[in-house]
């Protein structure tokens, strides 16, 4: 297609303006008490994950991109074309819905052929294209199956084929793996990653699962309460979380404070000694596994970070025990079952928590 050729040429030319290809959007949706205001850009070939807790506005953002929810403000440009006022059926957008929404009365083949048919292809041509897509997804043998006869993983691939069969310039995936059980999920996640890597236009996926986001996406955009709180590469976000939600997702204790050299003072409360030399507002993060617990104040401990705490709760976490602590500093600590038993931990038990400065990580807020 000439369209693809032009895009390739534009990509090859280094001086091509970025806004001419890919997605450039600011999505504003007002819904009474809830307001979504999210800026989103993505280059062709890029996979962006919208990550956030339930009710953060991820799905609303996705629906706004698809045109299923009208924008109250902002703009939406795809490959340089304004889409704000384009009705959903005219947008070059493909959607994989959370529970796939495969049409139950149509076979897998006719589900995939539905899009090309609606966009003007003749019946035979649409079915041939659909068959090619199913073949590519490894589903050639299931073309005549009705959706209810497909497994979760197969249905997911049919849904993906259906969304891709219209040749979208923007692919939207709403919680693409949420409907699958743990084992299928692992396999489908790997397949989806491969298909997304092959997809040459912009892909935006919504998820509340950090693992899905980190495996599938090149870039994460974290949304809380309708606004972007952090964006960046998966590794960067995992190392330097900026909100409690993200810290919890990636399993870190996170504090915000003011640094004076190696000391970070948290409000009026305790201070944390770090190895970084910083000044001004900073975040300090350390993993729960870096915390050592003592039944009594340790004599001559080298740890500068020592706080008097109380056990608020215990939870088994794989072969470890996750201990929630309150007191001078609220934190989570991981220790082995043996260590927890030796300390005689129970809710309400007083403990001392220590963290080495080398285990902490401070970065500007």
């Amino acid at each position: 297609m000439t369209d693809t050729g032009e895009r390739k040429a534009a990509m090859d030319a280094p001086e091509a303006p970025r806004s001419e290809v890919g997605l450039d959007a600011r999505l504003v949706v007002d819904r009474g008490t809830f307001r979504l205001d999210v800026a989103l850009t993505a280059a062709p070939g890029e996979v962006v994950a919208l990550l956030g807790p339930n009710g953060a506005g991820k799905t609303t953002a996705l629906r706004a991109l698809a045109g299923l929810v009208p924008l109250s403000g902002g703009h939406l440009r795809l490959d340089g074309a304004e889409l704000d006022r384009t009705p959903p059926e005219s947008r070059p957008v493909g959607v994989v819905f959370q529970d796939y929404l495969l049409f139950p009365h149509l076979t897998a083949l006719d589900n995939v052929a539905f899009g090309p048919r609606c966009r003007g292809a003749r019946k035979a041509e649409a079915r041939a294209r659909a068959a090619a897509w199913l073949d590519r997804m490894g589903l050639a043998g299931h073309a005549d199956a009705k959706p209810r006869r497909l497994s979760g993983g197969q249905a997911q691939r049919v849904a993906l084929a259906r969304a891709l069969a219209t040749g979208p310039r923007l692919l939207l995936l709403d919680e693409p793996l949420a409907a699958l059980d743990a084992r299928t999920r692992l396999e489908v996640r790997a397949q989806l990653r491969r298909h997304l890597a092959e997809f040459e236009a912009v892909a935006v996926l919504v998820t509340h699962d950090p693992l899905d986001a980190m495996v599938l996406a090149d870039r994460l955009v974290v949304i809380e309460d309708g606004a972007v709180v952090q964006e960046g590469g998966p590794a960067d976000i995992a190392r330097r979380p900026r909100t409690d939600y993200i810290a919890q997702l990636v399993g870190l204790n996170l504090y915000r404070g003011r640094a004076e050299g190696h000391t970070v003072r948290l409000g009026t409360g305790p201070a944390i000694t770090t190895t970084e030399d910083l000044a001004g507002p900073v975040f300090v993060a350390f993993p729960p596994s870096a915390v050592t617990l003592y039944g009594a104040r340790p004599a001559g401990s080298s740890a500068r970070n020592l706080w008097r705490c109380e056990v608020a709760g215990l939870e088994s976490h794989g072969d470890q025990i996750r201990v929630d602590l309150t007191g001078e500093l609220a934190l989570a600590a991981d220790l082995t079952t043996v260590a927890a038993a030796e300390l005689g931990l129970h809710p309400g038990a007083p403990v001392w928590a220590a963290v080495k400065a080398t285990q902490t990580h401070a970065y500007p807020a």
Partner: protein, 286 residues
């Protein structure tokens, strides 16, 4: 003793003295008499008249009764008009149901109430209202007569209109319920694939709600077949033109009761056939 020894508590032991042990084990619980007696009375009340119809039927002269051309004329007219009324109801009723279920406009609740009004309105009143609207001097009828020379009352078309008026609400309510139960996100999915709202309705929603439409159509058809009050008021009782089976039955009852019974038997047979056709849908419903 048994309570502590039995691995599972037996559901039957709790209420000794009522019902046989075998039956109560199968049903789980016995039926209390204050419910059982009225229930059986109600059942008997529903079945006895039908039974009487069968008992008193002039079986020996039945073939003679039914072979008269008037009977077949009335039956053919009944089937024709009921089917036409059902088709008419489908053509306008399904879109109306969609409008009520899938769009939001001011006064929607009021419109919905108006649609259901013919369900509770005495059919005779419906017939009078139809006369006032489509009669020769009616609000619309006078223009139809003056401009197109169309007269509706006391014609076969009038029968179809009267039956549609009474039967369509059944279809609309049934289809609207099915539409509300159907997931509207299928239409959204179709839209993102490039389907206009109408295409989404035609190719996705309509097939999904087809069972509900079929059930509504059968309900409407059965209601139209039995329609009496509105028909006789608006269309009159002319053999071959507007005399449907119910009208023929009523008329026959005045001078030839045996014929009335024979005609009733035919209608009963048609009803049973309809019910048998729907047994998967309704009779197996839990």
């Amino acid at each position: 003793m048994t309570e502590s020894a039995a691995p599972k508590p037996a559901p039957t032991g709790a209420d000794p003295g009522t019902g046989g042990p075998r039956r109560s084990r199968r049903r789980g619980r016995t039926v209390p008499l204050p419910l059982l007696v009225p229930a059986l009375l109600g059942l008997a009340f529903l079945l006895l008249p039908l039974l009487a119809l069968v008992i008193r039927a002039p079986w020996s002269g039945l073939s003679e009764q039914l072979s008269s051309p008037e009977v077949w004329q009335a039956l053919r007219l009944s089937l024709l008009c009921a089917t036409s009324a059902t088709v008419l109801s489908l053509l306008v009723g399904v879109p109306l149901a969609w409008l009520l279920a899938r769009t939001d406009f001011p006064g929607r609740g009021f419109v919905r109430a108006l649609v259901t009004l013919p369900l509770v309105l005495p059919p005779v009143v419906g017939g009078v209202a139809l006369l006032l609207a489509f009669g020769r001097d009616g609000v619309i009828g006078q223009w139809l007569d003056a401009w197109f020379g169309i007269t509706l009352p006391f014609t076969t078309t009038g029968v179809v209109l009267a039956e549609t008026f009474v039967a369509m609400p059944f279809l609309v309510i049934s289809v609207e319920g099915t539409l509300r139960a159907a997931d509207p996100r299928y239409e959204e999915a179709a839209t993102t694939l490039g389907a206009s709202r109408f295409t989404a309705f035609r190719r996705v929603t309509l097939p999904l709600i087809a069972p509900g439409i079929a059930a509504g159509a059968v309900l409407a058809w059965a209601r139209a077949l039995g329609e009496f009050g509105a028909t006789i008021t608006f269309a009159g009782n002319f053999p071959g033109r507007t005399q449907t089976m119910p009208l023929a039955v009523y008329l026959a009852l005045q001078n030839d009761p045996a014929a009335a019974i024979a005609l009733s038997l035919v209608l009963l047979a048609v009803s049973i056939a309809v019910l048998a056709g729907l047994r998967d849908r309704w009779m197996s419903a839990s």
